[in-house]
Structures are given as structure tokens and as C-alpha cells.
Symmetry: C2
Subunit: 230 residues, 2 copies
Amino acid sequence: MKTTQIGNAWKGAERCENCAIRHLVLFSDLQKSDFDQIHQPIDDISYKPGSIVYGQSDHMEFVYTIRSGLVKLVQYLPDGNLRIVRILGQGELLGIESLNTQVAEHKAITLDPVQLCRIPHSVITLLQQNSPGIHNALIARWQKMLNMADLWITQLSTGKIRTRVSRLLLLLSKNSLDDTFYMPTREDIGNILGITTESASKVTAEFKRNGWLKLLENNHAQVDENKLEI
Amino acid sequence: MKTTQIGNAWKGAERCENCAIRHLVLFSDLQKSDFDQIHQPIDDISYKPGSIVYGQSDHMEFVYTIRSGLVKLVQYLPDGNLRIVRILGQGELLGIESLNTQVAEHKAITLDPVQLCRIPHSVITLLQQNSPGIHNALIARWQKMLNMADLWITQLSTGKIRTRVSRLLLLLSKNSLDDTFYMPTREDIGNILGITTESASKVTAEFKRNGWLKLLENNHAQVDENKLEI
DNA sequence: CGCGCAATTGAGTTATATCAAATACGGTGG
DNA sequence: CCACCGTATTTGATATAACTCAATTGCGCG
């Protein structure tokens, strides 16, 4: 299942300092001297779509920065049902909650090809003691996660199905760099919105017939932002 | 509306140090010397039920610790609809997001008689610079909020109405100190679960008929935890 | 080219919303 | 203390939305 290809592992964080997306990640505020403190290896790992990064209730010794790709966070209900509670993208942090509890609150599954940096908890702990800048970066991620959770409640769990699918597609579209975006499977759409796969399919098929939604290759899609109802 | 009775205002934080619920609040880890840094007044304010502590998008210069009572956080949708995204109780922090953005993400309304400590942002900022212990306290609150948000998504926005009402009542019951709990209005239950007031009423009325839910005076209630389906 | 999974579609059922009316309740003033 | 008023809650009948189940089609991959 977890078909990870361990790429460039290296000691310490020499390359973090020159990382192409450093401005987007946790270490954006750090100084040269801060990086010198880091002696544990920070690995750069590639995942195929559908890989499990970690499971709910897993004991965690790492957090993960998303370099590229999308990851869904899934939570299971006592009755076996599940709900996708967030989708995280570039620059966001996986397993942030485990920094305090050592335990993962969610199952994290990649949606498309994903590259992650795996950061040992001990690195974060060390930086927290010596590099005050890290605090704001962590808080910012907590805040973004909470905003997204609230959005999930108000926009994606409220109202008629057609409205909610619209909101989801618009959200995916806006968060994308170009005018196309990753189109989740109908099953995932169902688990994001708390509806059945069939209902998700009926609405997306209708949007396609109306020409408001166009499916492209590679699980991507494009929407007409003016036609979709909010 | 906002009928606040400003109670004991005082300079600095002499009384914070000896606060009866200090172990529950943001300042639990602070030392004597930390309190000496605080020179802005931290006011203790009482609110009647239904008072607006602050509005969505308000410019914020304070955060609020809940000394007692319950506060609902409400968010409005573009179409005027609303959803209650959280209910906060003793020891929790209102307006935590405004520490970074200066703007409130929610409207905060008291459910029952509430006592809050109003803490200027500047106090938190100061402590963040000089008293590292405050960071963990803040992170812990972010984490608790996020856990609650996820619970709202998975437990309270997923499944049939009867199940969701059950989960809500059980949740309220478990979070209560004694075996009774604050019973929200049917309208609030609707806005918590994303259902209509009538549906909320029909289910709660049914629970009452079955003897699984007993209404007490003072908007309190009691449930038979074994009978309510999860 | 065919296989297997994902997506779509349709018919029938069930759950929930809607609309309207009746009842219960709490607080206020006499 | 009681009657009254306004609001919250309950209830019922009906309309609509969503789910369920089953069958079919479409699509990517070997």
C-alpha cells in the first residue's frame, strides 16, 4: 500500500535552506544559524496516488510538509462510516496535531502524486526552544486548518446537494494554481460532502451536461465559475 | 443587546495569579514573575444569555477566556444562512484567531449567563516574547478547537437526523460537570446540525416521549446515555 | 482488445423540508 | 397570585430532496 520511494535523504537540513518552496513552508522565517541546529535527517519522499502516509491513531514521530500534490485527511466514525475532513496542498503540514499528542487524529491519503518532506518531531521541538520564528509558522498552520474546518462545516455541510457540490468545485478551482484542478472521485466527493456516491455522480453529471464542468485528462477538471450557483 | 455589567476591573493581573480557575485557563503555566509583566487591565465581564460578545468581521483588540457559561460561535453564509460551528465552555478562548489577523472569524453569542476575562492582545503578545510557556497554552487551545471542528464535521454533520441529535445531546452531556446539561433551543440545534428547527423539534420531542430525554428547569436537560443511539 | 473498476442512470423508497396550525411556556403587568 | 401576551415548541399534512438498489455505460490500463 504505502509505496514510498525514498528519494534524497540527507543529514541535517543543508538543502532546506535552499529549498525552492521554502517561502511556503514551515521554515520560511528561519535564519541560516537556525538551520545549523538541525542534525536529524529530513527526508524527501514521493508517494503514488492513493498512498497512506499515516493512519488514524498511529503513533507519530514525524510531521510532513507538502512539497507538491494533494492529501486528504479522513476520519472514521464508530459505525465504520467515514468523512473526509480536509484536503491539504502545497506548504501545508500533515500531522501537526501529533506534535503535542504523538498520535494522529486522521488517516492521511494522497490524492495524486505527492512529494512530502518528513520532519522529525525532535527538529520542531528543538526549533521551538531556540528559534522563536517557528511559533508563528506553526500557529499560522493551525489557523489555516481551523479556517478550512469551519468552511467545511458552513459551506460543504450546509444546504442542498447541488449547492454543496458547486461550492466544492469552486473551492478546488480557486485553490488551484491554474484554471484546472484535481477532480476528486465521486466517492470522495460524497465523503467530503456527507452524501452518497450516486448523488455526487448525478450532480456532477448534470453539471457536465450543462457545460458548467469539463473533465480533462489526468483526473483534472475545469468549471465555469459564473454558472455554478453558490 | 450587549448588556455587559463590567465587574471587577483592575490594573494588571494581580488577581489572575490567584484566580480560582487558573489551572484551566491560558495562564496556567505562568510563573509569578510572568504576571508582573502585565500592566494592562484584564477585565472580568458578565453577560446575560443571548449577549453578543463580538460580531463576525469585527476588529478585535481582545481575546476572552471563559470563566463560566457557554458561548456559541456562529458563521454566516453569503446567502444569509448561518451555522453554529462550535460551542465553547470553561477555560476556552474566544477570538483566538484575531491574535494574528485582528479580525473575528465568527459571531460569538452567549447561551447562558457567562463570565469572561477580557485580555488585551498586547498582553498575549508580551507574554509570547518573554514567557515561553504561553505558546503551549495557545497551541493546546488551537488543537482543541480543531478537534472540535472535526468532530462537528464527522459526528454532527454526517448521518440521519436522529443519529445526529443523539450525538449532540450525548456530547453536551459528556462535556457537562454534572449529569445535566444546557439544552439548546430547537433553532440552535437546527443550526448546529444543519437541519430545520422543525426537524430538531420532532426528534427531541420523540426522545422526550420515549423517556430518553428529560427537560429540567432553567433550560437544562438530562439524557439516558444507554438509550440514545450513536 | 478485453477486463475491472468508476461513473452514470433510473425506478422506487425513505427522509427531510416546507407550510400552516395548535399548543405550551415564560415573563410581565395588573 | 393570576391573566395575558409574545415567543418557542410541537404537531400534522404535503411536497421535495436524497438515498437505495440494481442495471448499464464508460474508461483506463494491461
